[in-house]
């Protein structure tokens, strides 16, 4: 999971509190689901264990204790290595769509109906993202949204092709 690396990337710009890390993550990936605080602290404790992140400062200004984290030298090296390596192609969760449609076809259920409804859901999401993208001026946020949009578009093309195949060839049974 690359959440850890993204948080390390935020810390590479300077020490930050858990709350700041969550905010920075959510700002960088406006098209994705917001990061839960639990995920932030799980990632931080894991990174601390591995010696990639350390506590920079603990303060208590009348309120609860606040901890600022910083990237270690080792952490910076690990981050650089991650940045330099490619990711495997694929592994996108859209496989769930394929599983459902295939199962529906096998069971003689309404695969065509599912494909059409799913297309509408995808289109609605794409419309939201396009609107969101028009309001964002930061190139980093725009390319993050582009990534989500292009994956949706690939799913949409697949949904359209699948619907056409189901219509032309039936269930194949």
């Amino acid at each position: 999971m690359s959440v850890q690396q993204v948080l390390m990337g935020v810390l590479a710009e300077g020490p930050a509190h858990g709350y700041d890390l969550k905010r920075a993550y959510d700002d960088r990936f406006p098209g994705a689901r917001p990061l839960a605080y639990g995920q932030v602290y799980t990632a931080l404790s894991r990174l601390q264990q591995d010696g990639l992140v350390e506590v920079a400062e603990t303060s208590r200004d009348g309120g609860p204790e606040r901890t600022a984290y910083a990237l270690t030298g080792e952490g910076r090296a690990a981050l650089d290595a991650w940045l330099a390596e490619t990711e495997p192609a694929g592994g996108y969760a859209a496989v769930d769509l394929v599983r459902k449609a295939t199962t529906a076809l096998r069971l003689g259920a309404d695969a065509d109906g599912f494909l059409h409804r799913q297309r509408a859901v995808h289109l609605a999401r794409m419309r939201e993202l396009v609107q969101q993208q028009q309001q964002v001026r930061d190139a980093g946020a725009r390319i993050a949204i582009d990534h989500t949009i292009y994956h949706l578009d690939a799913d949409l093309k697949w949904l359209e092709t699948a619907a056409a195949r189901v219509a032309a060839e039936g269930t194949g049974s």
């Binding site: 309404d110 109906g113 409804r117 289109l123």
Partner: protein, 232 residues
């Protein structure tokens, strides 16, 4: 036209064939003032034919198109020409600029054809080029422009008459994503400000997602994409 009193364009039962190929097989569609409607579908589905019928460029064999409550069929050829020139703007995939004219003269062309004053037409053209971020291209000829630049000029030309409807057929189809997005943003924001309707033919889901509504043409018939959300 009582049902369509709010529709700027109302088409009913459009049929159009080319030889033995039926491009449209009974299409009805309404477009409200200020609305952007994406017309999508596979290549050869009839979406461009639909656009050209709505724009009064092609005459359907059956069915009717009303614009502002008036049937296009009842207009004389001169009236249709005037309508296309003043109320409609057209943007095609490859700009279709006149190669011998500068970008500014290309933009001014619809006004000049409509016998507007030359200096005023030129000023209007420069104004539109500026709005589309293309003022520095004013003196360039189409041969000197990139695809994205040429499309900006084509968009300016389509908007220069202050049209009520812009018909765009794959306006970004020949462009890379970034220039395509810039042209599309320019077109749609200008249309929105002018409260003009846009009929946008595209095969690209990303482009269609910019519209208020999408309709899908399949084998010459229309299915409303938004009805897909209703379980069948």
């Amino acid at each position: 036209m009582n049902e369509s009193s709010e529709a700027l364009i109302a088409a009913r039962g459009l049929r159009k064939a080319f030889g033995r190929t039926e491009a449209l097989r009974g299409v009805s569609l309404e477009v409200a003032a200020g609305e952007t409607v994406a017309v999508t579908g596979r290549s050869g589905s009839g979406k461009s034919t639909l656009l050209l019928c709505l724009a009064g460029v092609l005459r359907p064999e059956a069915g009717e198109v009303a614009y502002g409550g008036r049937l296009l069929d009842t207009l004389s050829e001169a009236e249709r020409t005037r309508l296309r020139r003043r109320d409609f703007g057209l943007v095609l995939q490859f700009g279709q600029l006149v190669p011998e004219l500068s970008a500014a003269d290309n933009v001014a062309l619809p006004l000049l054809l409509d016998r507007h004053d030359r200096a005023a037409s030129h000023r209007a053209a420069l104004g539109w080029l500026e709005r589309l971020g293309a003022l520095d291209l004013a003196d360039a000829t189409p041969g000197e422009l990139s695809g994205g630049e040429a499309q900006r000029v084509a968009v300016a030309r389509a908007l220069v008459t202050g049209p009520k409807v812009v018909f765009a057929d794959e306006p970004t189809g020949a462009l890379d994503t970034v220039s395509g997005d810039q042209v599309l943003d320019a077109l749609l924001s200008a249309a929105r400000e002018a409260h003009a309707s846009v009929v946008l033919v595209t095969h690209d889901n990303r482009v269609a997602a910019h519209a208020d509504r999408e309709v899908v043409v399949t084998d010459g018939r229309l299915e409303d994409a938004d009805t897909f959300a209703v379980p069948r």
